[in-house]
Symmetry: C2
Subunit: 136 residues, 2 copies
Amino acid sequence: MKSSVVYDNLIKHEVKPSVQRMAIMDYMMTHFTHPSVDEIYNALSPKFPTLSRTTVYNTLKLFVEHGAVRMLTIDEHNACFDGDMSLHAHFLCKKCGKIYDMPLQNHEDALLGVQVDGNEITEVHQYFKGICKDCR
Amino acid sequence: MKSSVVYDNLIKHEVKPSVQRMAIMDYMMTHFTHPSVDEIYNALSPKFPTLSRTTVYNTLKLFVEHGAVRMLTIDEHNACFDGDMSLHAHFLCKKCGKIYDMPLQNHEDALLGVQVDGNEITEVHQYFKGICKDCR
DNA sequence: GTGCTTGCAAATCGTTTGCAATAGC
DNA sequence: GCTATTGCAAACGATTTGCAAGCAC
């Protein structure tokens, strides 16, 4: 079980591994669907019947703090999480609610660490909303 | 009371005026602080003692639907509203929680109405987070 | 009087907290 | 055995809903 891609990713971000953390990180590294806490919980709880929602919350919070996943606030109803740490934009379909990845449209990444009006930027979020190709 | 800037703005967006709607729109047109529902409610309830939070919720939802104000999801804890309908970016200070306006960093506005990968864009949100000049 | 608006109270839902049970070194 | 992690149940807080009362034309 040790020294898998998932295990290594936890170590890389200085997160002490556990069964639950491995399972959640595994899910994040294989499902780039920007899942919510509930989606992750529902997906994993059949295989880990004792898993609790609280642990999913705590674990994702830990991952975010350690820079292992990103939290999206594009959906006003619940937080979504992204295991893809590369800089990219997101598109939310207002009809089906699905979130798509998009390339960053310009060079916002160049603003990371930069000061604008004296405000120091550490995070860049680019969200687009509309109707996706499947819903039109 | 009729034909004020506030009244005219409601008419312009096809929102039927009422005492409460005028008061909330007035607040939005004079306070570009990206207030939450509670901030608006707390600010107005001294002058309108019977005002209810429900009405503030309903009214803001109505305003958003009519394109009279914009809802921001930059703050994960509660929705904020912006009466400035010009296209601009936002900066959230992770320390003090204040939201600053910023110019759009590039030309995302050019994407409005455009299709990217077949997804039709109707809203552009550009959020930056970090530490503001007052908190550093 | 009819239809829309308001506002209370209750319900809902995502998330957090307190704390006891458990697991890992 | 000590410390960190887990998970239940309860609390919390923002938002929504149901519905009765009020207002406007």
